[in-house]
């Protein structure tokens, strides 16, 4: 497949590589993104996993992956990728493994590890120039343990550990910028609800050697409190309201791959989810709604 093979929806792979019947929740936005990523990435991969929801994809003796898998721990999946990559390089360079047996190291992590405990190992791997793809499915909380807030939780969201009337008091950490500050070869945000944008980015990421981030917002019915059938629509709204900017970093520049125009009010996204219901009922919290809108406006002021 050439780097420019995917231009239209009909160019997306028609063969789906990830098996079904996993333990993920119905409507899992992370799994949606992973399906799309895996179709483009292919099976010559080792998915090195950090503790999170997707650890439950591979449960002895079953796996939905046609390629390989290694579960590590919550904090150190990038170091696992380092060990796999280095070992494969050593085997090839010493002539103990033919190059056609080579594999790509792919870290698969949730936001809980990516935004917190795993940051040190991630930073170390980028600084060492490790050739790996880092996929974070970001459902904005510790989803596997029942959606407690994490460093990825957005301002005002109710979680199992921020149940007050103003929700989570902190602000979502900017993991994309943290990566960009390391000057990796590639970094991108994606969402499963925009499969063409996602596939183009994975295809591009495949052409680079070095540390590469794919950060996928992962609408989460059980954590965000909405009907599983709405995952795709909520994903689209995240993009249309400008809450989830689709962008990539390459050659030292951040480029937005989609600029929503006209941008919908954030309310249209927030009102779809139970975690933000307290912003609307019993009465509207105008102050918080204005603050959230203002932050999104401020972001796009520098882009539009």
């Amino acid at each position: 497949m050439s780097p420019t093979a995917i231009k239209r929806m009909k160019d997306l792979p028609s063969t789906h590589l990830l098996g079904g019947g996993t333990a993920m929740c119905a409507g899992c936005g992370g799994l949606e993104a992973l399906h799309e990523i895996y179709d483009v990435l292919g099976t010559r991969t080792v998915f090195v996993n950090a503790a999170g929801c997707m650890t439950l994809l591979s449960i002895y003796p079953f796996t939905p992956f046609r390629g390989s898998w290694l579960y590590t721990a919550m904090a150190s999946a990038p170091a696992g990728a380092q060990g796999v990559r280095d070992a494969l390089d050593i085997l090839i360079s010493k002539g103990r493994m033919p190059p056609e047996e080579d594999l790509s190291a792919v870290v698969l992590t949730g936001d809980g590890a990516a935004y917190g405990m795993g940051l040190s190992a991630t930073s170390g791997a980028i600084e060492r120039g490790l050739d790996f793809l880092y996929i974070c499915y970001d459902n904005e909380g510790y989803g596997n343990t029942g959606q407690q807030f994490s460093g990825a939780t957005p301002h005002a969201a109710k979680t199992a550990t921020s149940m007050g009337s103003r929700g989570y008091p902190g602000y979502k950490k900017d993991l994309f910028s943290i990566w960009v500050a390391h000057k990796p070869v590639y970094a991108a945000t994606v969402i499963g609800a925009e499969p063409l944008d996602l596939a183009k980015k994975i295809e591009k990421a495949k052409t680079f050697k070095g540390p590469r981030l794919v950060l996928a917002l992962a609408p989460c019915p059980t954590g965000w409190l909405y009907d599983p059938k709405d995952s795709v629509e909520i994903g689209r709204l995240a993009v249309k309201t400008g809450i989830w900017p689709l962008k990539e970093y390459v050659d030292g520049k951040v480029v937005h791959t989609h600029v929503p125009h006209p941008r919908l009010p954030v309310e249209e996204y927030l009102s779809t989810q139970g975690r933000f219901a307290h912003l609307f009922k019993p009465q509207r919290n105008e102050e918080l709604l204005r603050e959230i809108q203002a932050r999104v406006d401020e972001y796009w002021k520098g882009v539009e």
Binding site: I59, W69, D86, L91, K94, R96
Partner: protein
């Protein structure tokens, strides 16, 4: 080859170099750092075929080590004390991955209070991790144990990681004459790394280290590890015999020094056991039949060897360089279990000593021997004793007095 003066750290590094290791993920920590410096420099100059990569923590270091090992290469790493504890989650993990890597731990006491000096609290904390453990008493033994460790770790009947332990400062920074083994003979002793189908290859997709649902699956894999660790007893003996045949030096799982006809026995692990050997000689000169029993292999636990060596002795003093808070010496407790119900079991006495580099001088060994003689006379074991002298306590009181004066000066005295 003639003998050269090497520190324990250098002896370990030379063992790694001869073992034809492929991959060495590292992170510096005192008193281990000299090992990884030597390996880095050799790798840079192309003098050894290993790739050395510095990780950003011991936790990552051990993750990379385990991952590389189950991708199919021979791996070495090293740590000490706080580093071992920081990596602890991954010790249990990579043992479960059945990654047959070798790690050197340079023993150092654990914080708090923070210290750089030696005791065995760190390695004992890793006792139940699934790593096999070899304790060394000399620099030559460190060098040779690295080679033995790979033989045992990679044996298909075992396939578990091994820690080779040496005492910080007393071995790590002490030069002793060491015979660096001949590379050709090492190749005959240690065959090239065999992945045994535990590897990542494009043509053979595999899922490793996956989760299980339910206690019976979990128990199955954990029991397998335990049984493999127990099989390592026979595998170790075999390897030690082969080593002796090739290199002329035998390292039994349990070393015994003048213990065959002894009535009283010192029981110790690690470098301080060499102090006990000297005390044994002196006490024998004075007419007391004393010996030393020193387990080299601590996991798997060589219970049968210990029963054979200690049956019929009058009394044994277990001198632990570790302490389980609220319980006491760990090796004392384990030896009690090993000898329980033995018809000719000796009296067992527990002593804690050598914590954080504290010396155990000859006089204390004599006092311990005297305590054993007294115990036999009384017909019962004495209560556990924490070794500490009146002089030490007086020095400690002086330091406390300074601390109190300064606190009063600052106006925050209690």
């Amino acid at each position: 080859m003639s003998r050269v003066l090497l520190t324990g750290n250098a002896a370990a590094a030379w063992g790694v170099r001869l073992a034809d290791v492929d991959y060495v993920p590292v992170f510096p920590i005192t008193p281990q750092t000299e090992i990884i410096e030597m390996l880095s420099n050799w790798a840079e100059r192309g003098e050894c075929g290993a790739r050395v990569v510095t990780l950003e923590s011991e936790h990552s270091m051990l993750t990379a080590a385990g991952a590389a090992s189950i991708t199919g290469v021979r791996v070495f790493t090293a740590t000490s004390s706080q580093g071992l504890l920081y990596a602890m989650e991954m010790l249990y993990n990579v043992a479960g991955w059945r990654a047959p890597l070798v790690m050197v731990n340079v023993s150092r006491g654990l914080a708090a209070p923070l210290t750089l000096e030696s005791d065995h609290s760190d390695i004992v904390a890793a006792r139940d991790s699934g790593f096999l453990q070899i304790f060394c008493a000399t620099c030559q033994e460190v060098h040779d144990s690295v080679l033995l460790a790979y033989r045992v770790a990679e044996d298909a009947r075992v396939r578990l990681p091994v820690i080779v332990n040496l005492d910080g400062f007393y071995l790590s920074f002490t030069r002793e004459p060491v015979k660096i083994r001949d590379a050709e003979t090492v190749r005959r002793f240690l065959p090239p790394f065999a992945a045994q189908n535990i590897e990542f290859r494009a043509s053979k997709p595999i899922s490793q280290a996956v989760a299980v649902l339910g206690g019976s699956q979990y128990s199955y894999f954990r029991y397998e590890m335990h049984l493999a660790a127990q099989q390592a007893l026979a595998v170790y003996d075999e390897a030690a015999r082969d080593f002796a045949a090739l290199f002329g030096r035998h390292y039994p799982a349990v070393e015994s020094y003048r213990a065959e006809d002894a009535e009283f026995v010192f029981f110790m692990t690690g470098a301080y056991a060499t102090k006990a050997m000297d005390a044994v000689d002196r006490l024998r000169e004075g007419g007391m039949k004393v010996g030393l029993v020193r387990p080299r292999l601590v996991r798997p636990y060589p219970a049968a060897d210990l029963r054979r060596l200690l049956a019929g002795k009058k009394a044994v003093a277990v001198i632990d360089q570790n302490i389980s808070m609220g319980k006491g010496g760990v090796f004392y407790t384990e030896l009690c279990e090993a000898l329980y119900g033995l018809p000719e079991a000796p009296l067992l006495a527990s002593f804690i000593g050598g914590l954080g580099g504290r010396d155990i001088p000859a006089e204390e060994f004599y006092a311990i021997a005297e305590a054993l003689r007294e115990a036999v006379k009384q017909g019962k074991a004495p209560p556990p004793r924490l070794l500490y002298t009146a002089t030490e306590l007086r020095e400690m009181r002086k330091l406390q007095a300074i601390a109190h004066v300064e606190r009063k000066e600052l106006g925050n005295a209690p």
